[in-house]
């Protein structure tokens, strides 16, 4: 059983939703980024998404765009992002790791070489924003064959007919993008989210995780009642941005502030269904 599946089954037994956090690999620099990642499981993060920075993140809002730029200017590369996972895995064999980003850096690395390196590093799943089901032959199918989960996004524009297509080769979990738009800007209403989650759950047994625009423990808790997991990205990344000195270096206390914030979100998600 994959780490992702194991984690969701365990959470299901405990009747609580997963808290999924997103951070950009290499933001604000490789050392601080590793430290930050290592602090997340203890803060209650159930699944970690690590962004693979890209110069042209067309589905991301300003917070994640800037995080990517910080990572790139501190010298982040695909090889370094994979190394980050390897280093994280040295003392955490359980927390699932999902790499998230855009296709070109993977295509440039070479699909087969990338899948092998990702497996070796201990990556569990991939989310590649610009690979819809129409392009499954590119990476989705090879990734599944290599034993990695390929997690797909479903959105408010995905109607019922299309949903089947979206679900066909999806594994691990389904990521429901709760708003039409880019990361970190608008937020959806909890009841709209609930009905969308129900619509997806009627068609799949995979866990349904909700993200985009979730910023506060209250919002996260409201979603966690019905959904199998909640993703917070931009709000965490913004927290990092607020803890940088003028030269872009990490201020003392960066890891502490971010993990404290992550903990408040995790607690809210974990207690949402009323223990």
């Amino acid at each position: 059983m994959s780490r992702i599946q194991q984690r969701f089954e365990k959470l299901k037994d405990e009747n609580r939703a997963a808290f999924v956090s997103f951070v950009m690999g290499g933001d604000p620099n490789p050392t601080a980024s590793l430290k930050l990642l290592k602090s997340l499981p203890a803060a209650g993060v159930d699944v970690i998404e690590i962004g693979m920075p890209f110069t042209d993140p067309m589905a991301d809002g300003p917070a994640i765009q800037l995080a990517g730029q910080r990572a790139l200017s501190s010298g982040q590369t695909m090889a370094k992002t994979l190394k980050l996972v390897t280093d994280f895995r040295k003392d955490d064999a359980e927390t699932p790791i999902v790499l998230m980003g855009y296709y070109n850096p993977i295509f440039s690395y070479g699909v087969d070489a990338f899948l092998k390196a990702a497996n070796d590093a201990g990556v569990d799943g991939l989310i590649v924003v610009d690979l819809p089901p129409e392009e499954d032959a590119e990476l989705c199918i090879p990734a599944r064959e290599a034993g990695l989960d390929f997690i797909r996004l479903a959105t408010p524009t995905t109607d019922d007919k299309r949903l089947e297509k979206v679900l066909t080769n999806t594994s691990g979990f389904v990521y429901y993008v709760s708003v039409n738009g880019i990361t970190g800007v608008k937020s959806a209403e909890a009841d709209e989210i609930d009905s969308a989650v129900a619509r997806i759950k009627a068609k799949t047994d995979l866990p349904v995780v909700v993200g985009f625009g979730v910023k506060t423990p209250e919002q996260a808790a409201a979603i966690a009642i019905k959904a199998d997991g909640v993703v917070v990205g931009s709000a965490i990344v913004d927290m990092i941005a607020g803890k940088l000195d003028k030269k872009g270096g990490a201020k003392v206390g960066l890891v502490k502030s971010v993990s404290t914030f992550a903990k408040s979100l995790a607690d809210a998600v974990h207690t949402a269904r009323g223990a």
Partner: protein, 405 residues
């Protein structure tokens, strides 16, 4: 590498929007239903006679088509070889070929019931064309333009404002055309109900590369019949500049299966293709995925997209339409590049010899013609796509020549 010669170079893309390995639909899920809708609407419009008629009517009475095919006698004499014809799309309303495509897309947007039009622009020519047609039809128009370009293309920014468009300066990334396109895509995923994205070149996800090419192909069809009328036969060589590649595809496409016609696309070599400052993605790039399609891109070893450079803001794009990438690998079209300096010389020569102030973009094509024409025989018919006029560029040229205006 040997590439199997297809029976026809004019049948692409396939159902997946591919030209060989290039093209495709690399977009976020939110946009996928929208581009499928667009594909369907375009397929219906294409075979609808009333759509064709409406477009032809506007091309004639609003744009001023057909544009003349003009024999440039003094340029011909000066270069001393091939007979040079200029396809004068710079005479179109708004001063470039861009409006051919914009009219098609806006008519389609109206058919689809969309009320808000967004566009990206670099030099501002596509933005001006979009703002113009939106004004004509009373549609809301929002144009994304890199902050750097807003600064260097002030007259076009003001033109768009006069036409009622809202200009959004883009500060993300490095504030040029590629960033404007990212921002337009971000707007589109946010406003999926009422918004139509009017892309300015043969790039983006399928069906854009094919659709924009079809709308621009009027350039090539007219050229074919005009040349027949003037010389009784097909031209021997076609030459056009390439930013994203729409004016070039428009001229080339009707001739792709005429094997005897030599076809040359000219990329912007900036300060030289052996420097970091150029925009020649076919000459200096490699295949990658950006803005919804696979194509040749300027990128670093890690797949990060590099900034392009060209004296011409309209050529300043790190990618190229996917059909060009395919035509290059298939060997049907030859791609060359010229530098900023060579383009500037061609710009001046055109002014002095023909009384035509060209845009800096087609000045690139002319610079290449200046290299090849002298060695060609006097009965060799060469067509250069004069796809834009240079009014927008006089400030840039003055600065490059060290003149104060």
């Amino acid at each position: 590498m040997t590439v199997q010669e297809p029976n026809s170079f004019r049948v692409g893309p396939d159902e997946e929007g591919r030209f060989g390995q290039f093209g495709g639909r690399f977009v976020a899920e939110t946009l996928m239903p929208l581009i499928l809708d667009l594909e369907k609407a375009y397929a219906e419009a294409k075979v609808d006679k009333s759509f064709q008629r409406e477009m032809e009517n506007l091309w004639r009475y609003y744009v001023g088509r057909p544009s003349p095919l003009y024999f440039a006698s003094r340029l011909t004499e000066k270069l001393g070889g091939a007979k040079i014809y200029l396809k004068r799309d710079e005479l179109n309303h708004t001063g470039a070929h861009k409006i051919n495509n914009v009219l098609g897309q806006i008519l389609l947007a109206r058919r689809m019931g969309k009320t808000r039009i967004i566009a990206e622009t670099g030099a501002g020519q596509h933005g001006v064309a979009t703002a113009t047609v939106c004004a004509k039809f009373g549609l809301k128009c929002v144009v994304f333009m890199g902050e750097t370009d807003v600064e260097r293309q002030k007259p076009n920014v003001f033109r768009m404002k006069l036409l009622g468009a809202e200009i959004i300066p883009v500060t993300s990334g490095r504030g040029t055309l590629k960033d404007a396109m990212n921002e337009a895509l971000r707007d589109w995923v946010t406003n999926v109900e009422d918004t139509f994205y009017c892309i300015g070149t043969v790039a983006g996800p399928h069906p854009y590369p094919a659709m924009v090419r079809d709308f621009q192909s009027i350039i090539g069809w007219e050229t074919k019949s005009q040349m027949k009328h003037a010389e009784g036969r097909l031209p021997d060589t076609l030459c056009a500049c390439i930013g994203g590649g729409s004016n070039a595809m428009g001229l080339f496409h009707p001739f792709l299966d005429d094997a005897e016609v030599k076809i040359i696309g000219v990329e912007a070599g900036g300060k030289g293709v052996d420097t970091n400052e150029h925009a020649a993605s076919l000459t200096g790039g490699r295949p990658g995925v950006l803005h919804g399609n696979r194509t040749y891109l300027l990128q670093d070893d890690d797949g990060q997209i590099l900034d392009a450079h060209s004296i011409s803001a309209g050529l300043d794009y790190p990618g190229i339409g996917p059909e060009h990438s395919w035509l290059k690998e298939a060997g049907r079209v030859e791609y060359a590049s010229v530098t900023d300096t060579e383009a500037l010389e061609a710009f001046q020569l055109c002014c002095e010899m023909e009384g035509i102030i060209p845009a800096l973009e087609p000045a690139h094509a002319l610079a290449h013609v200046m290299k090849i024409a002298p060695d060609l025989p006097n009965d060799h018919l060469l067509v250069l796509n004069m796809c834009g006029r240079g009014d927008k560029d006089i400030f840039t040229v003055a600065e490059a020549l060290g003149t104060k205006i």
